[in-house]
Point group: C2
Chain length 589, copies 2
Amino acid sequence: MQVYRAPVKEMRFLLEAFGYEQVSNLEPFKDYDLETAAALLEQASSFSTEKMLPTNGVGDVEGLKWDAETGAVTTPTGFKEVYAALRDNGFIGITGDTEYGGGGAPETLGIAMGEMSSSCNKSLAMCPGLTRGLIEALEAWGSDEQKQYYLPNLISGTWSGTMCLTEPQCGTDLGLVRTKAEPDGDAYKVTGTKIWITFGEHDLTENIIHLVLARLPDAPEGIKGISTFLVPKFTADGKRNNVKCTGLEHKMGIKASPTCVIDMEEATGYLIGTPHKGMRTMFTMMNAARLHVGVEAISGAEIAYQTCLAFAKDRRQSRSLDKSKQDKSAPADNILVHPDVRRMVLNQKSTTEAMRGLAFWAAIQLDVSRHSTDEKAKQEASDLAALLTPIIKSYCTERGTANISEAIQVCGGSGYTTDWNIEQYYRDARITMIYEGTNHIQALDLVGRKLPMHNGRLVQLFAAKVTEMIRGSKEEPRMAEFIEPLKKISKILTEVTMELAGKGMADPEEVGAVASNYLNLFALTALGYVWCVQVKKALETDNAFNRAKLKTARYYFSNVLPEYESLVTLIRAGKAQMMAFDVEELETA
Amino acid sequence: MQVYRAPVKEMRFLLEAFGYEQVSNLEPFKDYDLETAAALLEQASSFSTEKMLPTNGVGDVEGLKWDAETGAVTTPTGFKEVYAALRDNGFIGITGDTEYGGGGAPETLGIAMGEMSSSCNKSLAMCPGLTRGLIEALEAWGSDEQKQYYLPNLISGTWSGTMCLTEPQCGTDLGLVRTKAEPDGDAYKVTGTKIWITFGEHDLTENIIHLVLARLPDAPEGIKGISTFLVPKFTADGKRNNVKCTGLEHKMGIKASPTCVIDMEEATGYLIGTPHKGMRTMFTMMNAARLHVGVEAISGAEIAYQTCLAFAKDRRQSRSLDKSKQDKSAPADNILVHPDVRRMVLNQKSTTEAMRGLAFWAAIQLDVSRHSTDEKAKQEASDLAALLTPIIKSYCTERGTANISEAIQVCGGSGYTTDWNIEQYYRDARITMIYEGTNHIQALDLVGRKLPMHNGRLVQLFAAKVTEMIRGSKEEPRMAEFIEPLKKISKILTEVTMELAGKGMADPEEVGAVASNYLNLFALTALGYVWCVQVKKALETDNAFNRAKLKTARYYFSNVLPEYESLVTLIRAGKAQMMAFDVEELETA
C-alpha cells in the first residue's frame, strides 16, 4: 500500500521560518515570491503523487534489463513515460538558467521539489538529479561554447548527465584515478573503466553526457593531476562515441536506477575547466549532490513515516494502559494509545521535520551565496552552506535510514513485507550513507576542512547564529524551555570543538577517530537551532499546525537531543582503544 | 563473496568462562565434556561452512515457488539435499531426548550450533529451529502417547514443526485469536486462518506438525480461553488433513523461508496440554525461540563482521594520518590504518563477542534449570534465564542488525551490492526485531513481568552476580579498569530501576514509554558484566587470543558502554512529550 501526501504546508512554513524572502528578493528570483513558490510546490506535489509514485514499486520488482552485446539498458515499465512527463512539465530544468531555457527557480525550490520526487520514486529521481549536477558544473566551469551546446539540451531534459569518478581501485581516494586522456586535436581520447556510474546508460534520453575524471599525459600524481572531461554518448556529428556500459551492479535497493560499469576506449572527450584542476569541477557537482543526497534520505523518512502512521491509525491491538483511553466498543484499542508506538512515531516526526528545516536553511544559503549583491550576505551564506552540507549529507542519511527502520517496526511483520513498501524505502535509502562521499568522508570534511577554514570563520558564524537566537529570545518567556537545552548543547559543542582542535594538532588520528561522532554532536546542535527557528515562527499565531510544531519541538529537546551526552563521552574517549589492535587481533578465532 | 569461519575457539573460550562444567557435570550430559563439546562444534562448523553456506545466496535469489491449486511450496535448489544432510548428521535432534532418538546434547551446544547454521543459511536454519521449539513443547506438555508418536519423527527430522499463533486481526495481542476447535470424538475439528507461519508448508519433510492456538466452544474470552492443538499435515492414517497453504508473504529478506498463510477447514487436531491454558504451552515454545532469535541476529552480525574484515584487509584507499604507518611501496594504505574503519570494526567486534557471551551464559542457565538436582542452583538458573531472555531477544537483534549495517559501511558501495552478501544478511536480520514478540514486547516482559516477579528476586540475583564480580576482583589490580565502569553503570541501573518502579505504580504508561530504553540500559550493564567474566578468564593465561580479548573489552567499556548516559536521560524524560499529541497532530501537513 502506497501512502503519500507531499508536505506542502510544512514546506511553506519552513520557507517562511528560514527567511525565503531573502531569496525572492534577489533579482533573478523576483518571479518566485512565496505564493508562486507555494503554487509550484502544489503542482510538483500532484505530479509526484499521481505520476511518479505508481511506478516506484514496479521499478523495484522489474529492475533493469542490460543487453551484453550492445550495452543498452532498458528501464522498467512506465519510466520512459514518467520521465517524458517530468521533462514536458519543465521540472528537470526548473532551476536552470532562463537564458538556456531553464525555469530560473531558486535552488531552494529545486530542493523542495526534489524531496517530493525522491519520496515517490527515488530511483527515477536520481536521473534528473545527476543532470542538475552536470548543469551546475557547466554553469560554473564550461566555456561559452560548451554552455551553448550542452545546457539547453540538459536543462530541457532531452539529454542527461552522469558523474564518472570511481574506478575499481579508487573510490574515496580519487588520487588513484587511472583513466587517461590523450590530446587529439581540439578534443581528447579518453580511455579507462569507471564503476558505480548512476544512469551511466539508459533509454530515457536522446544523449548522455558523462563528466569524467581522467589524467592528461603530463599530469602530476595524485589528485593534483586530475582533469575533467565531457564525454558524450553521441558526439555532435551524431556518431556513437566509444563509451559502453559493460555491466550493471546488483544492489540491495534503487533497483530501477542503473549503476553501470562504463568502459571508454579512446572515446572522444572535451576538457572542461583547467587542466589538472578537475577536482574543483568535480566538487561543484559534488557539493550540490551532497545536499540532494541528504534530502533523498529525508524523502524516504517522510514517505515511510506517512505509511507507518496510516498503518498505526488502522491497527488495533491490546488495551491502553490508561483505562480512560480504552475503547469498550472494540475488542482492542488502536495502537497509537501505546506509549512505545508514540515514541517510535515521534522519533521519526521530530527528526524528519528538523532535518527538512536544516536542508531548507542550507538551500536558502545556497541561493543567497550565488546571487546576492551584498558581499557580506553572500559570504555568510556561502560559509553556512559549506558548513552545513557535510552535516546534512551524513546526519540526515544516517538518521533518515534509522527512521525508516523505526517505521518498519511500527508496522511489525507488515513492515517487513512488500505490502506496505516501507521495506523498499529502507533498502533504497541505505545507499545514501555511502555514495557521494561516505558519511565518514563528510565528517572529515567537516572537521578537517570546514572547521579550520578561514581560521574558524564558518563555525564562528554558526555559533553567532545560535547566540543571536538565544539573545533574541530573552524577551519571550515561551521560548525559554527550548532555548535552555540549546544553550547547554551549544556550550558543550564549543568546548568539544576546542578540545578536538588541540588534540588534532598533536595527532591527526585523534580527529579521524572521533570525527563521525563529532559530526553527529554538531548535527544535534544544529537541529536544536533549527527547532528554535521553527518554534519562534510557530509562536506568532495560535493554530492547530503551530501547536503541533511546539509539541514536536518539545519531543525533540527531551527525547532526541539527549543523545549528545553519550556522543561527548565517546568523542573524549578518543582513539586509544581503536589503534591498539594488530590486524590479526581483529580476526574471529 | 562468502566469507565464514565458525568461531569455534571463541565458543570454547566462552564455554569455559561461563562455567560449562556446571552443565557437563549434570547427569544427562556426562557424555558431553568440554572436549566432546568442542569436537561437536568443529564438526558443526565444517558442516555449516561446506554444506549450508553455498546454498544461502541461491535461496535468496531463487526464493520459493507456491502452487496456488495444491498449496505446495517448493524450496530453492539444494535445500532438500542440505536438509537431508542436516538430518542424517543427527543435527536436528542433537538436543533431543535420547529416549526418542535424540543426541542428548545440552541446549548450550544447540545454541552454539544454531549460531553457525544461522550464519550460513538463516532461512534454512529456521526450519529445524521451529521443530526444536515444538519438541520442547511436546516434552513439557505432551501426553505419553503424543510423545511416543511425535517425538521420534520430529527429533530425527523426518517431520518438522510450526507455531501457528498470528491471525490477520491478532499479532501481539493473542487474546484476539478466533480460530475454533470443535470436539470430534477424541480429536477436534480446527477451523481458522493463521498468518506469518514460518515453514508452514514446504517440501523438506514427510509431514508437518502445526502447533495451533485456538478456542474451544466453551472458551472464556481473551487469552484465558486459548488452547493448543497439534494439527498434522498428514494424520496417523496417512490422510491429507484439511490444512492448506493459501499464500506466501513477499518479504524483504529470509526469502527462502516460507512465510505462509495457513487455512484450516475442520482440520483434525489433537489437544495438547490443558484446555484454556494454551498460553503456557505456547510460552514453552516461545521462550526457547526468543533466545534462538537473539542468536540469529548474532549469527548475522558474525558473518557480516568476517566479511567486512576480509574486505577491509584487501582494500587500499588513502594514506594513514600517521606517517610512520604509510606503506611507501603502494600508492595507498590498507583501510584498516584509518581510525574510523577501526571504530566501525570494533563497534561490531566488541558487541558481537559480548552478545554471544550473554547468550552462552543464558543457555548454560537453561540447561542447569532443567536438569540440576540442586534446587537452589535450579531456581537461580531458571531466574537468570527468564531475566536474560527478553534482553537477548531485543538487544541482540537491534544491535546485531546495526552491526550488519556497520559492516556494509566498511565495504562502501561493495557492501550495498550483492557481491559481498552483506546486504542479504542485513535484510535477513531485520525480521529478528519483529518476530517471536516485537522488541518492545520483550521490553514490557522485562519491566512488567520479570522485574516484579517474586518481589524482584530475578533482578536481585542479577545484582548479586555483579556484586560478586566486583568483590571477587578486588585482589586483582588488572581487573580495576573493567570493574570501575561496571560499578558505575550497575549503580545507575539500580537507581533507575527504583525510580521506574515508583513511577510505574502511579502510572503504567510511564513504564511503557521508557521500557525499550530501559531494556537497552540493562543490556549494556549485562554486557559489561559479561565482558568482566571474559576478562577474568583471559587474565589467566597470557597469549595472543587473550590479549585480543582484553583489548576488545577495553574498547567496549570506553566506546560502547557510554551509550548508557543518554539512555538514562531518555528514561528519566518519561512519557510527557509522547502522550501530549492528538492523533491528527501526528499527520504530515
